[in-house]
């Protein structure tokens, strides 16, 4: 087995294509990476951001964008996927596995020179190396780029001669110096128990993986699946039924694609084109589906109440989000059937009424009643709620915004009727940071028997805030 590693030392910079110069990326208050122009001003990673501003006044600073870094690594992985079916992402680089004897290419050096060209075209500056283990390949790519070690060489001796300063454990460099350890070989010759006690179990595992004494198991990278279909109909579609009929076959294709990749879809984008106009419809699912046909129901609900805006002649269909299926089927499926049914109900409601009309209630930690309750569009990942347990002495129905009450003889009146005070006052004073309130709340009974929750504001105005329903 042979591993090829490509390490991108300037990965944080790669996340900002077309950045100005001089440029640096920060994490916390320290520089993580800086470009060539910034380096010429004497900047280096690890420097504090304030210090770098003094050295180089026109420096452009950005916070690290981990998501864009992931995308850049994914792009790198897709390049390596052309030469090896087994590619794994290991930040800040990618490793690819080859077999020892049979390579469909002439030799690994040839593969590397081809890759170098591909990387240059993609605008990625990567350093690469080959070694019999992934850990060693990563290490050599960082320390001695271009190195090729195979099993035929005395590769373990070569690894043992590397200096300790090249280890990816910068925090232990001082300790190595105190122990007068110069090479990796000297470290590995130490009794393992003592090594683990001094440097942690991670160091022991690292050495084991480095020389191939422990199996290296990485999740393989898989190329993302994008489903895209363009549909042209010879007759213009003018009704919901005709549209559904036209969509049936491409959605059956989607089902096949999902099944082939063991994947699921949770969003479908439809571009409806006709009469020189384009309309984009996005259909979302609460729980990702393994069948494309579920989108038919949503299309039906979306267009049931309104007609098609124009006669449609072309349909562009995209299924952007396709993620691997997780979990497994259960032995007793009742619970999951109910959950699926619930997801389908929410999807139908959202398709017809719009996402903003289907809400979940969230409790925000605030003493002002109108701010404490918030309605969010329904989704599975809603912001966390306040988890305290309140006393049930406030009303269930809230009026938003509070209704102003009339005043007669200094007493509040509701719909022209006098009110009888039952409880209070309860003082709520809060919100000095945005909208300060100082209120005295009372529970009152109206003439017809309702229990109401009213308050007196700063200027002796009375408001109705809720019903004790």
């Amino acid at each position: 087995m042979l591993w090829l590693a490509v390490v991108v030392p300037d990965l944080p910079l790669l996340a900002f294509p077309g950045h100005p110069s001089p440029f640096a990326v920060t994490e916390g208050r320290r520089l993580l990476a800086c470009d060539e122009a910034a380096r010429s001003h004497g900047l280096s990673p690890g420097m504090s951001a304030a210090e770098s501003g003094v050295l180089c006044p026109d420096l452009c600073l950005r916070h690290r964008d981990a998501e864009a870094e992931g995308r850049a690594l994914s792009a790198l992985a897709s390049i390596l996927y052309r030469v090896s079916p087994h590619v794994c992402v290991r930040s800040p680089g990618v490793v690819a596995r080859f077999t020892d004897q049979v390579t469909p290419f002439r030799d690994i050096g040839h593969v590397m020179s081809n890759l170098r060209e591909d990387l240059r075209e993609a605008g990625i500056t990567g350093m690469m190396a080959c070694a019999p283990t992934a850990e060693a390949a990563m290490l050599y790519a960082t320390v001695l780029p271009g190195q090729i070690l195979t099993r035929q060489d005395k590769w373990r001796d070569h690894v043992a001669r590397l200096p300790v300063t090249c280890l990816p454990f910068p925090q232990h460099v001082g300790l190595f110096k105190e122990l007068r350890l110069r090479t990796l070989g000297e470290c590995m010759a130490l009794p393992r128990a003592g090594l683990v006690r001094r440097f942690g179990a991670e160091m022991g595992a690292f050495f084991d993986r480095l020389v191939g004494a422990r199996a290296e198991i990485f999740a393989p990278w898989r190329p993302p699946v994008v489903f895209s279909r363009r549909l042209h109909v010879s007759y213009a579609l003018d009704s919901e039924e005709a549209l559904l009929f036209a969509l049936r076959r491409p959605l059956a294709h989607l089902t096949q694609v999902l099944r082939r990749h063991d994947a699921v879809a949770d969003q479908l984008t439809l571009d409806l084109i006709g009469e020189g106009q384009t309309q984009t419809q996005t259909l979302c699912l609460t729980t990702p589906a393994r069948r494309g046909e579920v989108f038919l129901t949503l299309v039906r609900e979306r267009f049931r109440s309104r007609n098609l805006p124009f006669a449609v002649t072309d349909i562009h269909m995209r299924c952007d989000v396709t993620v691997a299926r997780e979990g497994s089927l259960t032995l007793w499926p009742e619970g999951s059937v109910r959950a699926d049914e619930w997801g389908a109900l929410v999807d139908r409601l959202r398709a017809r009424l719009g996402s903003s009309s289907v809400c979940t209630v969230r409790w925000h930690a605030d003493h002002r009643p109108e701010k404490a309750t918030r309605e969010w569009p329904w989704s599975l990942s809603v912001p966390a709620s306040c988890s305290e347990v309140a006393e049930a002495h406030h009303p269930l129905w809230l009026i938003d915004p509070p209704e102003r009450l009339g005043v007669a003889d200094g007493q509040p009146r509701w719909q022209g009727e006098s009110l009888r005070f039952l409880e209070g006052p309860e003082r709520i004073e809060s919100g000095w940071w945005d909208e300060a309130v100082a209120r005295e709340y009372f529970v009152v009974r109206a003439v017809r028997g309702q229990r109401l929750w009213i308050f007196r504001g700063r200027e002796d105005e009375w408001f109705l805030q809720g019903y004790f329903a």
Partner: protein, 215 residues
């Protein structure tokens, strides 16, 4: 060996479908005693007609809703007239992630939403509000409720004529508390629940209604 004595014993299943209507106790012993089968009927649409808003009409449902929420069932509120207070729902032991509010724009959309929610087996209870509803529309909703088999409550204004509901409760405030007239149950005197707010929150919290015996 004789099997018959074993078979007549209660608790031995013989593959015969259970004919007893499914109910959920309301939590209020006085009310349970008045209701047919001593609880909220499941798979039926119960009509609630409060004389005015703010007399404890929601408190009547709270113990049953708290129980459903603790069983991880969803509670759907279709076109509620006001906003539900999140801290008070939690105070009544209702899990907020089980609450879904639907705010349709038109009467037709409200009917459609209520129909969808009532006919889904995934929902624990559906509460819907209408300012007016036709008999035919109500019958369609009742059919959906029978199909879904869950709790369904339809809030209507007091002026509406008697609906074709299996169970209709008229709610009025009286000095002693909340008076409930169970329609079509003339043999019972009206139920009066005093201090319903405190009682409901205690019931939700303690779970005492679980042991509540009918009558």
């Amino acid at each position: 060996m004789q099997l018959t004595p074993a078979l007549v014993q209660a608790g031995v299943t013989r593959g015969i479908p259970d004919r007893a209507p499914r109910i959920l106790p309301t939590g209020f012993a006085d009310l349970d005693a008045c209701l047919p089968n001593h609880g909220w009927p499941q798979g039926a649409l119960v009509t609630l007609q409060p004389a005015v808003s703010g007399i404890g009409e929601l408190q009547l449902l709270m113990p049953a809703l708290a129980r459903l929420s603790q069983e991880a069932r969803y509670l759907v509120w279709v076109a509620p007239p006001h906003r539900l207070s999140a801290p008070m729902l939690v105070a009544h032991r209702i899990a907020l992630e089980r609450v879904l509010t639907v705010r349709p724009q038109t009467h037709k959309e409200a009917l459609w939403s209520a129909y969808q929610a009532l006919s889904s087996v995934s929902v624990g209870a559906v509460m819907c509000w209408f300012s007016a509803i036709r008999h035919s529309e109500f019958r369609a909703l009742a059919r959906a409720a029978a199909q879904g088999g869950q709790l369904g409550f339809c809030f209507l204004p007091p002026v509406m004529s008697a609906q074709v509901a299996r169970l209709r409760l008229v709610l009025r405030p009286v000095p002693q508390g909340l008076r409930i007239d169970v329609d079509g149950q003339s043999r019972h005197a009206p139920v009066v629940i005093a201090d319903i707010h405190r009682k409901a929150s205690v019931l939700c919290r303690a779970g005492a209604w679980r042991r509540g015996s009918p009558g």
